[in-house]
């Protein structure tokens, strides 16, 4: 699975990577009135044999080494660059994925291509196929390092912050959405815990407990609040609602006891297992409910061995 994940990520990055993140933006250009004798100097300065011809920031043509040799061979006197430039060369857009740029370059057999803004034709960069892989790898390295740093920062927050105690508090509001689309908060809690570097078994327990509780909020209470506190010792999840309340909590905790209507059962819930599942996932589970006022659940999952 590990290898597949890496390949997936590289594929994803290749599709996400845009031309603008790897194009060269620092280079000299020529004006249509410039003469062919100037071309060699510009190619040398740019260390690139593609010379864009630009008027009012707009690309009007390109000169390559072939055009320059053609002029040299002709032994003609100095001529304006417009006499020798290409006007219908392939161009790229900065927002284009690198993958599509590679395809275009290979189809047109171009080695160096200018990058222009789609509407205005304004020149913004140049791409060279011979440096492309190096540029892509550099960009991958930057993205990878950024991800590593972000992950490191989140997962080491408890060690990096100097304080007598560090506690991260997350608050989620569960809106009164149809139960069919529920589970978003549990999913967000899982992602947050993953980013904080919490052990995967504990994430699984917190996810299952949160998910059951979230579905209960949607089925019976019309929404509510999740307060999640994470510290090196434990994950504490407090779920509160202002729903109708549970008349007999002891009975509600009996496995298989359910008051769920058919529409809840049709969604794959309401078999009288929810509260028991939450209890099984928790090291401490408390429930307090008052009819007409609401219900409050407290779930604690220990992160440190006692």
């Amino acid at each position: 699975m590990g290898k597949i994940k890496i390949v997936d990520r590289i594929q994803e990055m290749l599709y996400e990577l845009e031309v603008r993140s790897i194009m060269w933006t620092d280079f000299y250009t020529l004006h249509p009135h410039d003469m062919m004798s100037k071309v060699r100097k510009v190619m040398q300065r740019n260390r690139n044999t593609l010379v864009p011809i630009v008027l009012d920031k707009k690309l009007i043509g390109t000169l390559t080494i072939d055009n320059y040799i053609k002029w040299l061979n002709s032994k003609e006197k100095d001529k304006p660059v417009t006499r020798y430039m290409n006007v219908d060369s392939v161009t790229l857009h900065p927002q284009e994925p690198v993958i599509s740029a590679l395809r275009k370059m290979s189809d047109s057999k171009s080695i160096r291509v200018a990058v222009v803004e789609p509407e205005s034709n304004e020149l913004v960069g140049v791409i060279c196929r011979c440096n492309l892989f190096e540029d892509i790898l550099t960009q991958f390295d930057i993205v990878y390092k950024d991800e590593q740093v972000r992950h490191y920062r989140a997962s080491h927050i408890f060690e990096d912050v100097q304080a007598d105690a560090v506690n991260i508090s997350l608050l989620f509001h569960v809106a009164d959405t149809p139960m069919e689309f529920g589970g978003e908060i549990a999913s967000s809690i899982r992602t947050a815990l993953q980013n904080l570097g919490v052990n995967s078994d504990m994430i699984r327990r917190a996810g299952i407990a949160s998910y059951e509780a979230e579905m209960n909020l949607l089925a019976y209470a019309g929404g509510g609040e999740f307060q999640v506190d994470v510290n090196p010792k434990h994950i504490k999840i407090v779920i509160s609602d202002r729903g109708p309340g549970i008349p007999d909590v002891k009975q509600a905790m009996e496995p298989g006891y359910s008051t769920a209507p058919d529409w809840v059962r049709e969604l794959g819930f309401g078999a009288g297992m929810g509260l028991n599942n939450i209890d099984d996932c928790s090291d401490i589970f408390k429930i307090r409910s008052e009819v007409g006022v609401g219900t409050k659940l407290v779930i604690v999952i220990d992160l440190e061995e006692p």
């Binding site: 597949i4 999913s187 995967s200 996810g207 998910y211 794959g268 819930f269 078999a271 297992m273 599942n277």
Partner: protein, 112 residues
């Protein structure tokens, strides 16, 4: 058992072609009750179910199940398929009934 093998045993259609079918599952769990998935389905299992709504994929996500197969030709709802893709799950469908699918996988040696 590799996903590739499961696809051939159950004659599955694979609904998200961008995931690899080389990875494997250690066990299988078959149910239409999501609380049952949450209570009893092991991490890394194959989940067989007829329930095709978003919750079938949510329950798989919570229990860390990466492969979901819908039985009796059931197609997952669009939001279920979209969420499964987002979580890089393998989403399959088979025309076999739950009973038949279980018996074929059991005969091939896949345990609960």
């Amino acid at each position: 058992m590799t996903i590739e093998k499961i696809i051939s045993i159950l004659d599955c259609k694979i609904l998200n072609l961008d995931v690899s079918t080389d990875s494997s599952v250690d066990s299988v769990y078959a149910t239409d009750l999501m609380s049952d998935v949450l209570a009893n389905c092991k991490k890394g299992s194959l989940l067989l179910t007829i329930l095709s709504n978003l919750q079938s994929v949510r329950a798989a996500e919570m229990t860390e199940v990466q492969v979901v197969c819908y039985v009796s030709g059931r197609q997952p709802k669009p939001e279920a398929l979209a969420h499964g893709k987002k979580k890089q799950m393998t989403i399959l469908t088979t025309d076999y009934s739950m009973y038949r699918a279980c018996s074929l996988l059991h005969d091939a040696g896949l345990k609960e």
